[in-house]
């Protein structure tokens, strides 16, 4: 049996008395590639933040690499959905990516760290921009930088919160190609609204709308959705994703 690296048991989360996650049990094993889908406000980002130890559940147990979530951070690469950063901040592309290699207080960045950061920039096709101040990039380019920052950590678990939201189609494709390479080396949780991606690249799906409705192979998930709606899933996903997923509970 494969090693379990994330385990949420009967997890409940409230934000100011609003129920965000209801009795969610979720597990992820080594080298799994899971896609989290669900409507806005369904709790997808919340699950990622629980795994990162940024949100403490009100009830339930969480283990990441068999430890408390904040102890697992060294082995996690994270791509946030939004970064509320000051685009005028005095920092360049390389420095942002290098932060992904941060280890601990007092231990500076080594030559290897710098090489990995440059490599990651090359992977996302942004090497030539390495000295540019981050405010002088487009939002899609910035997203690529954040992708590089997440992967240069060489994590055992990669958490991606809508990674391709502002990236052009060409980059999207090469990003998913990259992911299918990366998933050989690490477990991936991908939050996305892009169900066409799920059908091609992802092994399993978790549908989340406050409760976890389905957690299993993506093939079965897609079949199920197609059965319910009697039309190709891609159409559904791109057309009216929120309604599709809301009806899930009935």
């Amino acid at each position: 049996m494969k090693e379990e690296i994330v385990s949420l048991k009967n997890t409940w989360v409230y934000f100011n008395d609003i129920l965000v996650l209801e009795d969610v049990t979720f597990s992820l094993k080594k080298n799994d590639f899971v896609s989290l889908i669900g409507p806005n406000g369904g709790g997808k980002t919340t699950i990622l933040k629980i795994i990162l130890g940024l949100i403490k559940p009100d009830k339930g147990e969480v283990f990441v690499f068999g430890k408390a979530p904040e102890k697992g951070r060294k082995s996690i690469g994270y791509l946030p959905q939004y970064s509320f950063v000051d685009l005028n901040f005095p920092i360049n592309v390389f420095e942002v990516v290098l932060m992904g290699r941060y280890d601990t207080v007092g231990k500076g960045y080594s030559k290897e760290d710098k090489d990995r950061a440059l490599n990651a920039l090359k992977t996302v096709g942004m090497l030539e921009y390495k000295d540019r101040q981050i405010g002088r990039l487009s939002s899609g380019q910035l997203q690529r930088i954040y992708i590089a920052r997440a992967i240069c950590r060489e994590p055992e678990l990669l958490l991606l919160d809508e990674p391709t939201a502002s990236v052009d189609p060409e980059m999207q494709k090469s990003f998913y190609e990259l992911l299918s390479e990366l998933k050989k080396k690490m477990a991936v949780i991908l939050v996305t609204h892009d169900i066409s991606v799920v059908s091609v690249y992802v092994d399993s799906v978790a549908c989340l709308n406050r409760r976890l409705f389905y957690h299993g192979s993506s093939e079965a998930a897609l079949k199920k959705l197609e059965q319910v709606y009697e039309c190709p899933i891609e159409l559904l996903a791109h057309g009216i994703p929120h309604r599709v997923l809301k009806k899930h509970g009935k």
Binding site: L52, L54, R73, K74, I76, Y78, P80, S83, F84, V85, D86, F89, P90, I91, N92, E95, V96, M99, G100, Y102, D103, T104, V105, G106, G108, Y109, Q133, R153
Partner: protein
Amino acid sequence: MIELLQYEFTRNAILAALLVSVACGIVGTFVVIKKMVFISGGISHAAFGGIGLGYLLGINPILAAIPFSLLTALGIGTISKTIKVAEDTAIGILWTLGMALGIVFVNLAPGYAPDLFSYLFGSILTVPSTDLILMLVLDFVIVTVVIFFFREFKAISFDEEFSTVIGVPARGLYLLLLCLVALSVVVMIRVVGVILVIALLTLPAAISRQYTYNIKKLMLLSSIVGAVLTIVGLLLSYLFDLASGATIVLVLVLCFLFSWILKRSK
């Protein structure tokens, strides 16, 4: 001009300007890029409570201001992030609390407080040598801490949540950064006074950041700008017999406006 340097008080004043510029360049850079101006304003004003306490206890007010402003920094930093009060509201409350305490302490202190005014508005020409040594020590602490935690301070300034995710102890280091602000305030009180300290913590870095996108260069440039403009302000205040703290601030503001216009008109 040269004969001015023969006097101990002018030499002390120039030394004070140089010591202040170290703190304003290094800590001021973080104050500006992490957008901590208002919280720093709160810490600097609340430091007046420490000055008052010094009068009350009969010790050097600058010395008393060190623990007082450190506690204020920790208090503001903790309360503004834990209690369900808007951060600026919490700052406003502690800002005025510190000042009010300072005034009450001075009232309670026996006798008359002769140079109280200089702690409020600064008096660079009357900085005693003992305070210079204190300023030097505080500068040394500030520089050492920033060198050691530079990567962490940069990370939390850029994106606090992400820095937590990569394992930076962001909460603690934020409080440490506020403590550095508190120490810088103490370094600067003698020169511009608690009310005008925030000018030295923001203007040199605000002027300099228009010219560089590198944090280390920004610190260096802010220090140089701080030193030059403080000394220019000092000279002008001497020549025109004006209050030194206020003159320094006016020079800083004018220079900011000038550099801003120059940058925009290109």
